[in-house]
């Protein structure tokens, strides 16, 4: 399968671009915003202001490009690494910070934001995303669901079962595989014996598309086509974004144990943010000055969000037994009383 690209590694367009300059500017904004968050997140993590955090550096285009293709009424179903996608689809910065601070204040996403929580048990989101997508048909709502998974995640049974359900039911869902070369320490070559996961699509009778995951234009275009297809009632698409995990698996991982940095250096040259920026500069709609203004704005937004997050109250001990059922049962009530300070 050949890989769809619109930008060269240095950002120069390979030809006519499918988006207007305004669209590209808004896309770059979302991309740069995600990058800014990721950079600050690692600092906050070191300061003990975030818990374990899975960085997405290098994967911004693969995530933001998909989110840009969604309407507000569409559903986004992330794994644990899709903070960039989630921010772009409308999760407020403060909620995002609280979530990664492992603060219950961040666990309830705001009403109206159609994003499911980050999925820790790998691949379990895939069959669920199919159900979410299908539900729209019963409501006569024409929504689409976009579900993310990693190269490693494709080895789980749920990936197969979910794709087959989507294909059999013709569900309006977009499966996005971010093939970032690694599953913690396991390289993709040990995860599968195929060059491209998208080659599995035809085994389900659905389209499979491979894009340069560090090319925002390519991801955005491919995702938009797949979303339109789904909305037309033509069923699911498997979209594979070839990218690379530049950073450690999480803030507690040490890649030195399993990989050299050569490959990482090569991929840094294809940095999706820089590539998009160069593209805009090439189109003459961006420059150093505009960049500086944007970064200042993003920093201000982030600082405000951190302050807001810091104002969120400490979780109460008894909150750990709340919201298990719509109505507390006797055992939870007893625990709740105990945690309130009474004794059992």
């Amino acid at each position: 399968m050949d890989t769809v690209r619109y930008l060269q590694d240095d950002g120069t367009p390979l030809g006519e671009l499918p988006f207007s300059a305004e669209e590209l500017l808004s896309g770059y904004r979302a991309l740069r915003r995600a990058r800014h968050f990721d950079e600050r997140a690692l600092v906050l993590q070191r300061q003990g202001k975030l818990g374990v955090y899975p960085p997405f550096r290098g994967q911004e285009a693969a995530q933001v490009g998909v989110a840009l293709a969604l309407e507000k009424t569409d559903w986004l179903v992330p794994s644990y690494r899709e903070t960039a996608a989630v921010l772009t689809h409308g999760l407020p910065l403060a909620s995002t910070i609280l979530y990664w601070r492992a603060d219950p204040g961040g666990w309830r996403f705001p009403e109206g934001v159609r994003i499911l929580p980050f999925y820790i048990p790998i691949a379990t989101q895939i069959p669920q995303a199919v159900g979410v997508a299908q539900a729209g048909k019963y409501y006569g709502e024409n929504w689409v669901a976009a579900a993310f998974i990693g190269d490693g995640g494709t080895s789980e049974g749920d990936f197969h079962e979910g794709l087959n359900f989507a294909s059999v039911f013709g569900a309006p869902v977009l499966f996005v595989v971010q093939n970032n070369g690694w599953a913690i320490s396991v390289p993709t070559e040990k995860q599968m014996k195929v060059r491209s996961v998208a080659s599995r699509a035809q085994g389900y009778g659905i389209p499979g598309v491979v894009v340069d995951g560090n090319d925002l234009v390519a991801v955005w275009k491919a995702a938009r086509d797949a979303v339109e297809r789904a909305r037309r009632g033509e069923g699911p698409t498997l979209l594979e974004a070839l990218t690379y995990r530049i950073a450690p698996h999480t803030s507690s991982d040490d890649p030195g144990r399993y990989r050299t940095e050569e490959q990482t250096e090569l991929w840094k040259r294809k940095d999706p943010v820089m590539r998009t920026r160069r593209c805009l500069e090439h189109l003459g709609v961006w420059d150093e000055e505009r960049e500086k203004a944007l970064v200042d704005e993003l920093e201000a937004e982030l600082l405000a969000a951190v302050e807001e997050a810091d104002r969120s109250p400490q979780p109460e001990p008894w909150s750990i037994v709340e919201e298990v059922f719509a109505e507390m049962n006797a055992d939870q009530k007893a625990a709740w009383d105990y945690l309130q300070g009474g004794t059992r």
Binding site: P117, G131, V132, A133, Y138, E161, E322
Partner: protein, 335 residues
């Protein structure tokens, strides 16, 4: 919920017919209710629980899925998250196992994980238990595993009229409910079942026979076994109290403790493998809350610590029967 049975007309139905009627009423009442699983559509289920419902409500409401239990439960969770009321059938409880990741990782955690933003109002039905010469793994009783999952309820009816009202309550419930149906009872019990829509309360055990000599705690397929034992004992002038737990979780501590306070003796009966079975939880609760009223050890009559025998010829030596229950009763009475 209307705890009491309505005073409408009744007809004699077996348990699977009662389940079919409840599903029919739920589909009719709430457009969000969907029925799906393996062979539930055109065939109406291997036990006929959804017989005729696809013809009546259409393929979009009652449908077959591919052969994949994790997919079935995951798909249902997704539907529920987006506002539907999925009712999934797993062909046999022993085939819930491929779906346990979806069940343990998501089904009961979702509401807590999102602090109430999302919930999973889903019902999972599955036939369970032995006594009818099924092949390997078709007679499993995995309820203990489901009762150790936070955020889910486990209901096991023991008669047609209870099954109908409890299943309708389960479908109305805002949280996930497992509804296990004893295969032995599907056609093994017939009883008067009220017509029309009614629900019975989830979370309450009920005394199906009063007595003062000892309490038998049981559920599902073991209720008729305990009632048989109680009848035999009664002939010898020993009045046994039979408590049908009906809902395993949330656990109805009050009814159980009251019965023990009255009889001072407890025997717990279940057909799953003894070690780690739900009967252990029942015994533990009693030992925690009613020890001062106990005049004898709490005994468990259960399946042996071995797989349910997949060879019919000796099956009845594995599954508890009235004889084994009475032996335990004699021991607690002699004590």
């Amino acid at each position: 919920m209307s705890a009491a049975m309505p005073q409408t007309k009744t007809r004699v139905l077996n348990l699977v017919q009662a389940v079919n009627e409840a599903l029919d009423l739920a589909l009719e009442r709430d457009p969000r209710v969907l029925l799906f699983g393996e062979d539930v559509g055109k065939m109406g289920g291997v036990f006929r629980a959804s017989d005729g419902l696809q013809a009546k409500y259409g393929e979009h409401r009652v449908f077959d899925t591919p052969l994949a239990e994790s997919g079935i439960i995951g798909y249902g969770i997704g539907l529920a998250l987006a506002g539907m009321r999925p009712v999934a059938e797993i062909q046999f409880a022993g085939f819930l196992y491929p779906a346990l990741d979806q069940i343990l990782s998501h089904l009961g955690r979702y509401r807590h994980r999102t602090r109430g933003r999302y919930s999973v109002p889903m019902v999972i039905r599955a036939p369970y238990g032995g006594g009818v010469h099924t092949p390997e793994q078709h007679a499993d009783s995995p309820e203990a595993v489901l009762c150790h999952v936070p955020g889910v309820k486990v209901v096991i009816p023991s008669s047609p009229e209870r099954a109908k009202g409890l299943l309708l309550a389960a479908i109305e419930d805002p949280d996930p409910v497992f509804f296990l149906e004893a295969i032995k009872l599907y056609r093994g019990v017939k009883a008067e079942v009220p017509e029309g829509y009614y629900t019975l309360p989830i979370g309450k055990a009920r005394i199906v026979r009063e007595g003062d000599a000892a309490s038998l705690f049981c559920y599902g397929g073991m209720v008729e076994v305990c009632q048989k034992a109680a009848e035999v004992a009664a002939k010898e002038g020993v009045e046994l109290e039979v408590v049908d737990l009906e809902t395993l979780t949330p656990f109805d501590l009050e009814t159980v403790v009251e019965s023990v306070k009255k009889t001072g003796r407890a025997v717990v009966v279940y057909e799953a493998m003894r070690t780690g079975g739900f009967g252990a939880e029942v015994a533990a609760r009693i030992a925690e809350e009613a020890i001062d009223w106990l005049e004898a050890p709490i005994l468990r009559v259960a399946g042996w610590d071995a797989p349910y025998p997949p060879f019919s010829a000796v099956e009845h030596h594995y599954r508890p029967d009235a004889k084994r229950v009475l032996e335990a009763v004699r021991r607690v009475l002699r004590h």
